[in-house]
Symmetry: C2
Subunit: 337 residues, 2 copies
Amino acid sequence: MTDKFNKNYQYRPKRPLLIKDIVNGIKNGDKTILSRSITLLESKNFNERQLVYKALKDLAIVKSSSFRIGITGSPGVGKSTFIESIGQYLGTKGKKVAVLAIDPSSNKTGGSILGDKTRMENLSTMDNVFIRPSPSKGELGGVAEQSYETILLCEKAGYEIILVETVGVGQSETHVKELVDFFLLLMLAGAGDELQGIKRGIMELADGILITKADSGNEKNAQNACLSYQNAMRLFPENKNKWFPEVLTCSSLENKGIENTWNLMNKFRELYLSNGWLEKNRYKQNQFWFFEKLDQFIKDNFYSNKNIQNAVKKMQSKVTNGEIDPYNAALEIFKTV
Amino acid sequence: MTDKFNKNYQYRPKRPLLIKDIVNGIKNGDKTILSRSITLLESKNFNERQLVYKALKDLAIVKSSSFRIGITGSPGVGKSTFIESIGQYLGTKGKKVAVLAIDPSSNKTGGSILGDKTRMENLSTMDNVFIRPSPSKGELGGVAEQSYETILLCEKAGYEIILVETVGVGQSETHVKELVDFFLLLMLAGAGDELQGIKRGIMELADGILITKADSGNEKNAQNACLSYQNAMRLFPENKNKWFPEVLTCSSLENKGIENTWNLMNKFRELYLSNGWLEKNRYKQNQFWFFEKLDQFIKDNFYSNKNIQNAVKKMQSKVTNGEIDPYNAALEIFKTV
């Protein structure tokens, strides 16, 4: 910003990136190129997006051994402060950490490395940390269409720990689950905490639950909540991979419980690396996104037809009130092709 | 069976049903026609299925005010005995009850009103009760492709209470949720009951939980389980329609808790009728199945192409081990069209 007011400042338009710029930049771990690539990926312009997708093809040979962590919780639960704390903890240990914040309530258009400078201030100054708030298009329940590719780009740029922040209020949180290895749910302690607006079903998907804001004075509340959730989690069916989700407390402000949380995630990772599940799960996720994207292409292609759009519009009210059953309604639309 | 060994027995092939036979039979509440229609609906023969779908179009004008209840639980939890008990309770009250058992482990092909005669023996003798075990094709998580239409047929044949039995181990139980008004989860009390093989996430979808086999001698166990689940359910986020899922116990063998369970479901129904949610939810479900079926048509059409099938097959292993990212893999397949 100051540059503009410097008398020596000269406006130099950024040269548009070529595919090879992206490939080389990512391979070299260039933060600016990484950031610009993500911006292209989020662009509404098909050709801009294609640049990155084409680069990704060339980048397929770059292997990484990353740990993908999903962090979900309703607004106000303290996701950003927790991520700031654990990010600094990991950064100080010399880990390369990428933070991808997917905020569906945000209207930001991608483009700045730090869309919201007031968040994660200290974390953002660390050299080995990359922070990227991504606007979700609100389609896949808090997961933007290009979230998977954004993770891939960060990994190929050398980031070992990927923290994916989402708001657990979307339509299909299972999509978040398909992005990550470990799924951490943040919950608040205290009165009324049952009503946190988290989507039903999400709690059982968690590999760990963290009761936040266990700050001085609130420790007892947090401990009680912790016990309640522990009891609740025991009632859930066993995870097929012999992992028992644990419930912990933390105070991001007072930096308590951060190391414990990391140890829990690390324990999970070591178990899952040793029993081969981590790799197997990634394989499954690759398949999931392959068919997900293929289905999207097919559907987009179908629904982009103006005749079909109009036919669907007309049919919808008839289906809603039962004038026609869903099967026959769908068949009629399908026949209009 | 005995008929065949009767010396007066003459083989008379059943006349194939015409659309108008189905329409009239269903309108008159003819159990045999209803059963044969469901068999046609489950047929692998496209033209046979179409007969019923066409009939459904004519039957759109027949309105009904039904209560659709989903009953889910792992094998051995006592779904059939519970349904036998509550079915008799409701049947004795003069209600017209249809029981649709969707058993994904079953290899039965549809066709008999009582595929498994040893189940629900007493219930099946009641005039105002219709029982139909349906083989699930194992696609939609225990929901057969034609489950929604089967429910519609029963309703249009005059059945007021539809009990849909499923095993909660499928891929997407949310599909069961989209079939019914009330979703009851059956759980076992006693040691190891945490590990019941129910799919994670399903507990939070339940509108009520019923601890089964609270038989004499096991009452204390059941009561303890009931309390634990009650506590757990309180931790879940509030249902947006002000319904707090309750946990009850029952002994189907000793006929205890059956009336309580019905009262709970009825309380739910009255609340949801009064606040308009029942109708609103049905509308939403109609929309859900409309797009679900339309998407299925589109996908079936795409994947039925032999070239595409081969291309997908070849691509899958490349995607799995990360030789190509999911987006580019999907794009390549899509371009083969």
